[in-house]
Symmetry: C2
Subunit: 205 residues, 2 copies
């Protein structure tokens, strides 16, 4: 059952697939489930997607593009790379209740697939790689060329870890606390490129 959504059916299928894969997992979600959720007869699904894997890839590809769009938005609207990182981390505060219940949709796919064989696994992984590459640039712009990649990975690791612990302990506050730790740390690292006066001497890591 879907909202009264007059979108085209292909888009509706991708929407429903993304939602149900997130809620119930990749393997636990059948094409019949997705078709029912999108209010489309199951036989018609195969007109748009030849296999279940194709649909999963389309749903994941859409998430990848949403992330890419966010990076552009951050670049356009926030000048300071540190503030961009804080904003990116803070995003997870807006979804912490949902993620504490269902986990991270990207992390779930990575967990559910074989990173070495699966094309879907590689696509989902590339979303994290995209984040790492983006965050790395921000840290480089703060003058942390040497540690940029390490910091970038550590940020997403902190987020992902907090989501798992929040889901495990059924407490979305765990995500909030960990995000606060990350933001405090981000606020604390010095801007080694441009000294704007408000930079302290504390060292994070």
């Amino acid at each position: 059952m879907n909202l009264p959504n007059p979108q085209n059916k292909k888009e509706r299928l991708i929407d429903s697939a993304a939602t149900l894969f997130h809620r119930n997992g990749l393997m636990a979600t059948s094409l019949a489930d997705i078709a029912r959720h999108a209010d489309i007869p199951i036989g018609n699904v195969y007109y748009y997607f030849k296999t279940k894997d194709d649909l999963a890839i389309a749903a994941t590809q859409r998430r990848k593009e949403q992330f890419a769009a966010s990076y552009i938005l951050l670049s356009e609207n926030i000048a300071d790379p540190r503030a961009r990182l804080v904003e990116a981390v803070n995003y997870y505060n807006t979804v912490c209740a949902e993620y504490a219940r269902y986990g991270c949709p990207i992390g779930k796919i990575i967990s559910d697939t074989d990173s070495e064989k699966d094309a879907l696994a590689k696509l989902a992984s590339s979303i994290f790689v995209d984040f790492v590459n983006w965050a790395k640039i921000q840290f480089e712009q703060l003058g942390h060329e040497e540690d940029a990649k390490k910091y970038a990975i550590s940020v997403m690791a902190g987020i992902q870890g907090s989501i798992i612990m929040a889901k495990s302990m059924q407490n979305s506050q765990i995500i909030a606390v960990e995000l606060e730790r990350l933001i405090t740390w981000l606020d604390g690292i010095p801007n080694k490129k441009i000294q704007l006066g408000k930079v302290g001497i504390r060292f994070g890591a």
Copy 2:
């Protein structure tokens, strides 16, 4: 195909289930897969476990007990609570190649199940709760009563996050780097109960 293992069949089934659930995930592993791996006819599986869920619970229960045994070993052999924490964190260095490929067996079950309904989900979650409770005691013994639980959660979040990122980027070194960060941090927090001379003034978090 199993090693020439003359264990009783129930134990062999639990072993094979734990291995295959870790490698391929809960839903992607069929009872036929497990029976074949344990070299036991599929019809015989149901003599030992009434349902697939029962077998999954038995396999997870065994992991929980292995963790519990580790805490006892750590208490018996290491006097300093800080050193106990470091040893516990360092454990993941011994499995980082395996975990970078297949993910954490506990994290995988938590990711794959519904934390609110599933009995298996609650059992897997309780393994992390056990860790948090154990680590909390260690931090309390270091005099960090107020932050003990927060620190305990943060440690496991860091470990879990690094495992996901390592699997995503297919690089077990990511786990090693994050464990190093955690251990450096553990080394840095002051022992507020007993001052032994080597305590600095840096603050972690």
